[in-house]
Symmetry: C2
Subunit: 390 residues, 2 copies
C-alpha cells in the first residue's frame, strides 16, 4: 500500500528507459487533497543535486501537489543545465496533471522532484518526460507498490510502511542501500498522510521523526548529494491529530523504513543496533553510537563474527562525550565482555551467528540513551561499491 | 640503519615469545648520550593504552634514556594491572641497563614504553621482561634493523629512514599498517638524532614534522589507543642545528616513514595522494583532503579502478571548508574530469592501472594547499580486519 494507503493519494511507477535494465524507473505521487500541505528534510551535503535545490524552493511555501521521482541518474554535479532539466520535469508534470483535470490546476512550483543514481551525468530528459506522461496516465489508488519499486537502485527489495493512527493513516516508501549518514547511494523517502495538518505541524513532526530514525542510521558514513525525506498531507481523513499523535505516527513509519534500509544495506551480513545508555545527554549517546557505527575496524570485526570490544572502546575514545575510560561497560548480544574499561565476561560466550546484533554501551555518566543502527563492512560492500559506476 | 644511524644510539630486537609465531617481538633503543633530551606526540584517543599513559609521564621531564617496545599485545584496556605491567617493564629495563654499566644510571622514569597488538589482553610479563634482558644483552650500533623488525604486527615490511643534515643525522623506524588517523593497528615511531637540541626545540621540531606527515596519513579513519611518535637526541654529533634545520630533517624522515606506512596499508592496492589547492586556509585544505581520504565510497571506487569524481565531490560537500559548489575542479592522475562542479574531461582518459594515484582538488577559494595520503578500501582490508583477533 505504501504511499497510497492514506486517503487522497494516487501513485504510479513506470519504466521510462532511464535504467538500461528496463526496470521501473519513474515514480509519480499525487496529492488529490483537499489539503496539499507538506514538509521535507534534505541532505546536509553542501554539494546538493539539482532536484534537491529545486525541491527546497518548492517546500518554502509548504505546499506540494505532486512529486516526481526517478532512479537511473542522480542529476547531481550537472551544473545549470541539470537544474534546467529538473525545472523542465516539474513544468512538464504540472502541465500534464493540470491537463488531466486534476482537482485543481497544478503549478511547477508545487511539484517536488527527487532523483537517484550516478552522480555527474545528465538525465535523458526526453525519456524522463515520457515517463512522467506514462506515470500520469497510470496514476491509481493502488499505485503505491509500483512507485516504491520504481525508485530502487541497488536495493534488493522495495521498502514500504503503513501506520494507522486514530482515524488517520501514514504511509511511506523508501529507497537506499548504502545510505544515511546518509550514504551516497542516496536515501529517498516519500511519506503521505490523510491527516489534517498545516505545514508547520508537518515540519515539526517530520523533523522529530527523522531525528530519531533516519538520522540514526549510519551505514557507511557517506552523505549523499540527493537525500530527501518528503511528507505530504491530504487532509482527506478529516481528522486533525495533535502534533504529538502525528509525530508518533510519522516516527513509527520512519523507524520502520529506516530499519528496512539497514536490513538491505549493500553487502551487509549483519544488522547492528548500538544501544548507548548512561550518557550525560542524548547528543552524547548519539555521538558515541555513531562513532562506533562508522568505525571500519568495528564493522569488519562483526563481518568476521569477532566480538572485538577493544575496537569498540577505541571508537568511543575518539568522541567528546562525557565518560571516564575506566568506567565504560560494553556488551555484545547481552554478554558484558568489557567492564570498567577492561576485559569482563568471557568473549567466547558471545554468539554472533545471527544476522541481528545488539551492542550495548553503558557510559555511567548520566541517564540519557539513544540507539544507532548500522551494519557490518563486508567483502560484498567493497565489491558492490568498487563496481558500481564503471 | 634506522634508529642507530645517528651517533650515540644502540638498539636490539629479540624474540621473547610474546608473538605465537616466535618472530622478533621486543625492541630496545638506548640513548648513550651525552644528551638524553626527548619529545613525543601521542594518540588523541581518550582511551589510552597503559604504555601511553606511562610514557606521557616520562616525557614530562623531557628526558628519555631508553625505550622498550613490544609487539604481540597493545596492553590497552587492561586496567590498573596493565599499567603496573608497563611500570614493571620500565623498572626492569632501568635496572638491567644500570647494571650493565651504561654511561649513567638509568631510572624507570627515564624509560619510555610502547606496545602494539590486540587490545584488551594482559601482556605475558615474564616473557616481556626476559625479552628486555635479551635485548639489553644484544644492544649494538647495528641493532636498528632488528629493532624495526621487532615492532611489526600486520606490517609486511619493516620501515626505516635516515636523513643526513649538516653535520648531524636523523634516523627512524615505524610500524603500522592499518594506521594513522591513526589506525587501530597502531602506529609506533621512534626517531633518533645526534644533533644537540634541548627538549623544547625537539618538541617544536617533532610537532611541526608530525603535523605535515603522520597527521596527514589517513588509512582507515580509525584512531588507535597506542600511537606514539618519540624523538630522542644524543647530542653525539656535537652539532646544534637551528630549529628550522632540525625541523626540516625530522620532517623529511617523518614523511618518508609516513609514505612507507601508506604503501604497506592493510590490503591496499592503491597509494593515493590527495593534493588540495586553492583553499582559503591550510586547515581547510587538510579538512577537504581528509574527508576524501576517509570516504569509503571513494576508497572502494579506487579499488575498482573507477575514476568516480562524483563521490569525491560529495565528500568535499560534507566539509565546512570555504568553497562554492560550482567552482570546484577535480583531477585524477592529471585528467580534470570535474570542472566547475560538473563533468569536465572525458573520464575514460583517466589511467588507474598504476598503484600510485594522485587526486588533485582546486577549491578556487584562496592560496593555501595541503596533501593528505591514503589508500583504497579493498577486499584484502576487509578480509584482514575481519580475521585479525579471532
Amino acid at each position: 500500500m505504501s504511499v497510497t494507503a492514506p486517503k487522497g493519494f494516487r501513485a504510479a511507477g513506470v519504466a521510462a528507459g532511464i535504467k538500461a535494465s528496463n526496470a521501473l524507473d519513474v515514480a509519480l505521487v499525487v496529492n488529490d487533497g483537499p489539503d496539499t500541505t507538506a514538509a521535507a528534510v534534505f541532505t546536509g551535503n553542501r554539494i546538493k543535486a539539482a532536484p534537491v535545490l529545486w525541491s527546497q524552493q518548492v517546500l518554502r511555501a509548504g505546499i506540494v501537489r505532486a512529486v516526481v521521482l526517478n532512479s537511473g541518474g542522480a542529476n547531481a554535479c550537472t551544473g545549470p543545465a541539470g537544474f534546467q532539466d529538473t525545472h523542465a520535469t516539474a513544468e512538464h508534470a504540472a502541465a500534464v496533471l493540470s491537463g488531466r483535470a486534476s482537482r485543481f490546476p497544478v503549478g511547477a512550483g508545487d511539484v517536488a522532484v527527487c532523483s537517484t543514481g550516478l552522480i555527474g551525468e545528465r538525465l535523458p530528459l526526453p525519456k524522463l518526460l515520457s515517463g512522467v506522461d506514462a506515470a500520469a496516465r497510470g496514476l491509481s489508488r493502488d499505485g503505491g507498490a509500483d512507485a516504491a519499486t520504481a525508485i530502487m537502485t541497488t536495493d534488493t527489495v522495495s521498502k514500504t510502511a503503513v501506520h494507522s493512527g486514530q482515524g488517520f493513516t501514514v504511509g511511506g516508501m523508501a529507497k537506499g542501500a548504502g545510505m544515511l549518514a546518509p550514504g551516497l547511494a542516496t536515501m529517498l523517502v516519500v511519506l503521505t498522510t490523510d491527516a489534517v495538518a498545516d505545514a508547520s505541524t508537518l515540519d515539526g513532526a517530520l523533523r522529530a521523526a527523522t531525528r530519531r530514525s533516519f538520522d540514526r542510521v549510519d551505514s557507511d558514513g557517506c552523505m549523499s548529494t540527493n537525500d530527501t525525506v518528503l511528507l505530504m498531507a491530504s487532509g482527506a481523513s478529516g481528522i486533525e491529530p495533535t502534533p504529538e499523535e502525528l509525530t508518533a505516527a510519522v516516527t513509527e513509519v520512519c523507524v520502520d523504513l529506516a530499519l528496512q534500509l539497514v536490513a538491505d544495506a549493500e553487502g551487509a551480513t549483519k544488522e547492528i543496533a548500538i544501544e548507548v545508555r548512561g550518557a550525560a545527554s542524548e547528543d552524547d549517546a548519539v555521538e558515541v553510537g555513531r562513532s562506533i557505527a562508522r568505525n571500519n575496524l568495528v564493522k569488519t570485526a562483526f563481518f568476521g563474527n569477532d566480538p572485538n570490544w577493544g575496537r569498540i572502546l577505541a571508537a568511543i575514545g575518539t568522541t567528546a562525550a562525557a565518560f571516564e575510560p575506566d568506567e565504560v561497560d560494553v556488551a555484545i548480544n547481552g554478554v558484558w565482555i568489557c567492564k570498567g574499561g577492561a576485559a569482563g565476561e568471557d568473549r567466547t560466550k558471545v554468539d554472533l551467528t545471527d544476522r541481528s546484533v545488539t551492542v550495548s554501551v553503558d557510559l555511567h555518566a548520566g541517564g540519557a540513551a539513544a540507539t544507532v543502527w548500522t551494519n557490518d563492512l563486508s567483502m560484498g560492500y567493497v565489491h558492490e561499491n568498487s563496481a558500481y559506476s564503471s
